[in-house]
Amino acid sequence: MTPGPEHFLVLSAILFSLGTLGVLVRRDPLIMFMSIELMLNSVNLTFVTFSHYLSSADGQMFVFIIITVAAAEVVVGLALIVSIFQTRHAVDVDELDEMRG
């Protein structure tokens, strides 16, 4: 079966749902973070698909900027997780229910 745009979009939807499931069901913040990365990447696939089939550069520009933003987000997020781990010595998101550091 020759893949068309709808195949790419459905694949992207599957990956996004898997990322959502990971965020909802896991308790390890690192795995939740990786699920968020999976969701970002599935959206990137959608952008590149539309960029190709619409013959427009906008989608690829969006993806380029999203990749940069995701890298910045990973840096800050991992710094936060390491910072939390150093004070609590166990990282379980369900136990992180205090606002005080």
């Binding site: 893949p3 709808e6 195949h7 979009l9 599957i14 795995i31 590149v48 990749i67 990973v74």
Partner: protein, 176 residues
């Protein structure tokens, strides 16, 4: 797309979904990260199929090269912790999570299936430029039309760097 590209698409798509399931269901964060690297590599293959060579290279370099190395570094720094396989704190969390994700998937697939001919009106602008090479077409767009987002991105990177340094420094001062 010709026959070879179809075969490549199906191989990449199926392995992306399988390794995506691996990201969510892996017991240890290490296996989850390795599965995510496989998913990202398969997405790079799909970008190549879609004539986005620069994005594919950036995907491999930035995600598989930099971001995932940072993830693996933090995982090994913190030590592998076993929180139990999808343990639940809220009652019915697992069932509701699967339900919500399934509803989301069905909803998106429904709307994709509802509009099979929505992608029309191709402007034939960018793909025509691709004969000169994807990087050249990409760069000329990036530094003319998209200059402002590009500059905003540099500001964002500086803010992220300051944030990471501030988070690291505060901890060091408390220890000393």
């Amino acid at each position: 797309m010709n026959g070879v590209e179809s075969v490549v698409f199906w191989i990449a798509a199926i392995s992306a979904v399988v390794s995506g399931i691996g990201v969510v269901t892996a017991r240890s964060a290490i296996y989850s990260a390795l599965s995510l690297i496989v998913t990202l590599a398969q997405l790079a293959v799909l970008y190549l199929l879609l004539n986005a060579q620069f994005i594919a290279a950036a995907q491999i370099l930035i995600y598989a090269g930099a971001v995932m190395v940072l993830f693996l570094f933090v995982i090994t720094l913190l030590g592998v912790q076993d929180l139990g396989f999808m343990g639940q704190h809220l009652p019915g969390q697992r069932v509701l999570s699967v339900l919500f994700a399934g509803v989301l998937l069905l909803g998106v697939v429904f709307f994709v299936a509802q509009s099979p001919h929505a992608i029309t009106g191709a402007r034939a602008g960018f793909n025509a430029q691709l004969d000169r090479g994807n990087v050249e077409a990409f760069g000329s767009q990036l530094f003319t039309v998209f200059v402002f987002p590009f500059e905003a991105t540099t500001l964002l990177l500086i803010v992220a760097m300051i944030g990471a340094v501030a988070l690291g420094r505060r901890r060091g001062r408390q220890q000393s």
